[in-house]
């Protein structure tokens, strides 16, 4: 899959040392700002970094926490899987069929920009209370950007690839697996990055409303009980997870484009 990409040697070595410095400066800056605002507003309103970390440890020690985390992970994993598979499939079809793509594209963008949370009740009515509603809500958030990115990538593919599909008389499935997907991996990864964060957002939002389990539910409980340390601890957990994956995908994306 990455054979045609890996032969290019990365040449931007000299930027490395300072980029580490930048990261250190950024993290130190955030921590400092956080600590200062915590002191300014009072630790009971905004717990500082140290307090948040101990609270996070305490959350992990809680016997129920594992089940909530597992619930969210399960819902998120399913949602991401469906969003990625569906998004790439939809994007390939709409990209390969120009007319269908032209017709559907503005509709997809319109769907992307409506506040989907207001439609969550419909999802709940259709899927019922439970994990499938969360998964569905995560999917409708994540599938659209992946589809749009894939579609754009397939449309901009070099015509020689399309001709070679025809020359080899590949079936649509073979053409997708051996030509279209390998040729569009960088864009698919870029779409994946946005799809990932939106799927996470959708799953969490789904858990925050009408749910009994999951990290989103814990957040909602903490909000109802006005428990800033727990809110901050969970926010930190999500922040670290989302940022780590996002940066990893970004690295992958850059690696593929070089």
């Amino acid at each position: 899959m990455s054979a045609h990409v890996s032969e290019r040697i990365p040449t931007r070595r000299q930027a490395k040392p300072s980029s580490w410095m930048d990261t250190v400066v950024l993290i130190a800056g955030i921590l400092l700002l956080w600590q200062l605002s915590s002191w300014a507003l009072g630790t009971e309103v905004l717990p500082g970094p140290a307090r948040t970390l101990t609270q996070l440890q305490r959350e992990f020690a809680d016997p129920d926490f594992g089940a909530h985390l597992a619930e969210t992970s399960k819902a998120f994993a399913w949602a991401l899987l469906i969003a990625v598979a569906g998004g790439i499939g939809l994007g390939l079809v709409l990209g390969a069929r120009r007319l269908a793509g032209d017709v559907m594209e503005p509709l997809l963008i319109a769907l992307y920009s409506i506040p989907k949370i207001a439609l969550y009740p419909i999802i709940l009515l259709v899927f019922g209370l439970g994990i499938s509603a969360k998964v569905a809500f995560g999917v409708i958030h994540g599938i659209i950007p992946i589809a749009i990115f894939t579609m754009t990538a397939v449309r901009n593919i070099r015509p020689v690839y399309i001709r070679s599909i025809r020359a080899h008389r590949l079936s649509p499935w073979q053409g997708a697996m051996h030509v279209l997907i390998p040729a569009t991996v960088p864009e698919i990864v870029a779409g994946l990055r946005i799809g990932f964060s939106l799927t996470l957002l959708g799953t969490l939002l789904g858990e925050m409303f009408a749910s009994q389990r999951g990290i989103g539910h814990l957040l909602m409980l903490a909000i109802d009980r006005n428990n800033p340390p727990t809110i901050m601890a969970l926010a930190l957990l999500l922040f670290l997870f989302a940022t780590a994956v996002s940066i990893a995908l970004l690295r992958w994306d850059r690696h593929l484009r070089h």
């Binding site: 920009s113 949370i117 749009i148 964060s197 800033p228």
Partner: protein, 274 residues
């Protein structure tokens, strides 16, 4: 960095659809939309899908019309609209300045780059309770939520636009010995306008998403809250009516923004080609 919004790439593509084909595409698109609405209508009327949980679109529209004419939710609508407007104004102005600062200070930009790129990976709604503690139980937490959600999109697109001002235009400014202000007003701003406008469009969309989402989850007033309230009370007619109003409204805004953005980019393409 343009990756924050898929619409941008997509947009430049659509510029190439021209002439009678464009009308055919528009026609087909309307047919697709009308057919899906008709299908929902039939499916609901024939009880293929549960008519209690999904009422026919015609009844949604009817309910929306009643809600609109009897004015029971006018106050909530105005509340949502005013909060979103405040958030949009703040996010676009602050976002523009932030983007400008990032452009002028490359060092700052290098440090903040990872943050800008992964900003939207974090569900911003988790900060809402803290905002309530900070700003009190009023509309400000919602406005700030919208602001925080929208500002980075605005800043990133402003930066993007400033970076893409063609070199030749900047050289022209130097040849004509323009001062700093004249260069900014006559060259840099017009040349980066399409991208800045994409930022404004996203700021508008994101502000509405955050304000309505915040209302839906944790608020006591506004359109989002009323939808959640109707859902919790099994009042599906009101719920779908409100959703219908919301979607029509957001859809109309999107349509206008899209048209403006499209013409801006197209003008830019023509200019670059000449």
């Amino acid at each position: 960095m343009a990756n924050t919004m898929p619409s941008n790439d997509a947009l430049s593509k659509r510029g190439r659809v021209m002439g009678p084909r464009r009308y055919r595409v528009a026609l087909l698109r309307s047919i697709v939309v009308l057919l899906s609405i008709a299908l929902l209508e039939v499916a609901s009327r024939q009880a293929w899908i549960d008519p209690i949980s999904f009422i026919p679109p015609s009844e949604m529209a009817l309910s929306a019309w009643t809600l609109l004419t009897d004015g029971a939710y006018r106050e909530d609508m105005m509340l949502t609209l005013s909060s979103a407007t405040a958030s949009i104004l703040m996010a676009t102005s602050a976002g523009f300045l932030f983007g400008l600062a990032l452009f002028k200070l490359p060092r700052l930009r290098r440090v903040l780059d990872p943050l800008l790129l992964s900003y939207y990976a974090v569900p911003i709604f988790v900060l809402y309770p803290l905002l309530i503690v900070l700003f009190g139980l009023n509309r400000w937490p919602l406005i700030m939520l919208g602001f925080l959600f929208a500002i980075i999109a605005m800043a990133v697109n402003t930066l993007n636009g400033l970076e893409r001002v063609p070199q030749v235009l900047l050289r022209t400014a130097r040849v004509l010995r323009m001062g700093k202000t004249r260069e900014a007003l006559l060259i840099t701003l017009p040349a980066s306008l399409p991208f800045v406008f994409t930022g404004i469009k996203l700021a508008i969309v994101y502000s509405f998403i955050a304000v309505i989402g915040g209302e839906f989850l944790l608020s006591g007033a506004g359109l989002g809250y009323q939808i959640a309230f109707a859902y919790n009370n099994f009042d599906n007619a009101t719920m779908y009516g409100l959703m219908f109003l919301l979607l029509t409204f957001i859809g109309a805004i999107n349509l206008v923004l899209h048209a403006v953005e499209h013409s801006l980019y197209q003008r830019r393409v023509i200019k670059e080609a000449v």
